[in-house]
């Protein structure tokens, strides 16, 4: 493996630093998650037909509710 010069070193991961790093990195609750997204296009199409509403589709490379 090629050794790289490290200018920006990673913080130490210890029992003492765990909580801070965990809270910094864990998934956060965000405003867009207040929308009751339907994760399947066909299921959404069926619901839009039943409720006589337009579909709003958020289509991304990778699932928007997971990793995009």
């Amino acid at each position: 493996m090629m050794l790289k010069e490290i200018i920006n070193s990673a913080p130490a991961l210890t029992d003492e630093t765990f909580s801070e790093l965990f809270e910094a990195c864990r998934p956060q609750r965000e405003r867009w998650t207040d929308i009751p997204w339907i994760g399947g296009l066909w299921e959404g199409r069926q619901k839009a037909a039943r409720e006589e509403k337009p579909l709003f589709i958020w289509a991304m490379n990778g699932h928007p509710l997971g990793c995009t």
Partner: protein, 342 residues
């Protein structure tokens, strides 16, 4: 805006890189929309291209449509292969709201869905993709990933510092049970099952911060090990401390040759509690911290290739519908099988 979307639309979030290749009615419906909304084809022209699943074009976008596929509004990224030059995806909230309002005005004048419709259930799904797999009685983790603070920040000024991403991690019930021997006692050091180590490092210790990236090849794992140490136990539960490390390195050619390698050198630490009565984890908090370098086709690291700190945290996922989203690595053709046999 949230209330506006909830009241006036049926909001759907989907992975187009999968749908645009699906050889079934759901894939055709996505292509009907995106050929119009992203590439500027008419409804009839789009209809003529529904079977084209080898187009090699990106169908990403924000679309408002009727259930018959009539596009009422859209916002899409510029894509030079497209028929028409189009504007950026809805990162500007004012322009995004304008598009939604204009789409609602178009809804009043729509040509389709003028009467209530019944859309039947799908009777066929493209079998080359996975349609099941959520481990109902296993373990699902919600993962977050982000850059950590740097001593020297050489990233371009326009690059978002607070970028972050997420994913889900799946373990089946038998895999969960394989982590915890029934007779585990305080002080025992238990190797984390090798196949599960490989799944975690190949598919989840990856630089997704700025966008999706390729999984690590099996050969990229230069070193990876994880152990569980039993710290407390009763007849009802077992507390364990996870520790480990992973070194990943891969040669390649990304950003037209500007990047020829990528790597990750990380330590892991976690605290777990296994409830013996229900045979489930009730705590599974794990952090991986280390240095990443390089980039791949889609993770937008071309201006940030030098080693820099990254943090990844995982915890037990919630029970909302969105928490059933499959891990990113499972969403490609044959992905589920590869994922569970890392």
């Amino acid at each position: 805006m949230i209330e506006f979307v909830n009241e006036r639309f049926i909001p759907v979030a989907v992975n187009n890189s999968r749908l645009q290749r699906q050889a079934d009615d759901e894939g055709r419906f996505l292509r009907l929309i995106s050929w119009q909304g992203r590439y500027g084809y008419s409804f009839d022209e789009a209809q003529a291209r529904l079977e084209d699943i080898d187009h090699g074009l990106n169908h990403q976008g924000l679309y408002v449509v009727t259930t018959e596929g009539e596009v009422l509004g859209s916002r899409n990224r510029l894509f030079p292969g497209g028929k028409l030059p189009v504007h950026g995806v809805g990162s500007d909230p004012d322009q995004f709201l304008w598009m939604l309002r204009r789409a609602l005005a178009n809804w009043e004048n729509r040509k389709t869905q003028r009467e209530a419709l019944k859309i039947e259930d799908l009777t066929y799904r493209d079998p080359t993709f996975s349609w099941t797999g959520y481990p109902e009685d296993g373990l699902v983790l919600h993962l977050g990933v982000r850059d950590l603070p740097r001593q020297v920040d050489t990233r371009p000024s326009g690059m978002k510092r607070e970028a972050h991403n997420q994913d889900y991690v799946w373990f089946r019930r038998e895999e969960v049970l394989s982590m915890v021997p029934p007779d585990a006692g305080v002080g025992d050091v238990i190797p984390f099952p090798e196949g599960l180590v490989r799944r975690l490092v190949r598919y989840h210790l990856a630089d997704y911060v700025r966008g999706e990236t390729s999984s690590w090849s099996s050969e990229a794992i230069r070193d990876a090990a994880m152990t569980l140490t039993v710290t407390e136990e009763t007849s009802e539960w077992v507390n364990m401390r996870l520790s480990g490390s992973a070194q990943l390195f891969e040669d390649g050619r990304w950003y037209e040759g500007a990047c020829r390698e990528r790597g990750l050198d990380a330590s892991l630490l976690g605290y777990l509690r296994f409830d013996r009565r229900v045979e489930r984890f009730v705590r599974f908090d794990v952090v991986a911290v280390g240095s990443r370098w390089g980039g791949t086709e889609y993770n937008v690291r071309q201006d940030d290739l030098e080693p820099a700190p990254i943090g990844i945290a995982m915890t037990i996922a919630g029970r909302e519908a969105r928490d059933r989203t499959a891990p990113h690595a499972c969403q490609s053709r044959g992905g589920l099988e590869r994922y569970f046999n890392a």
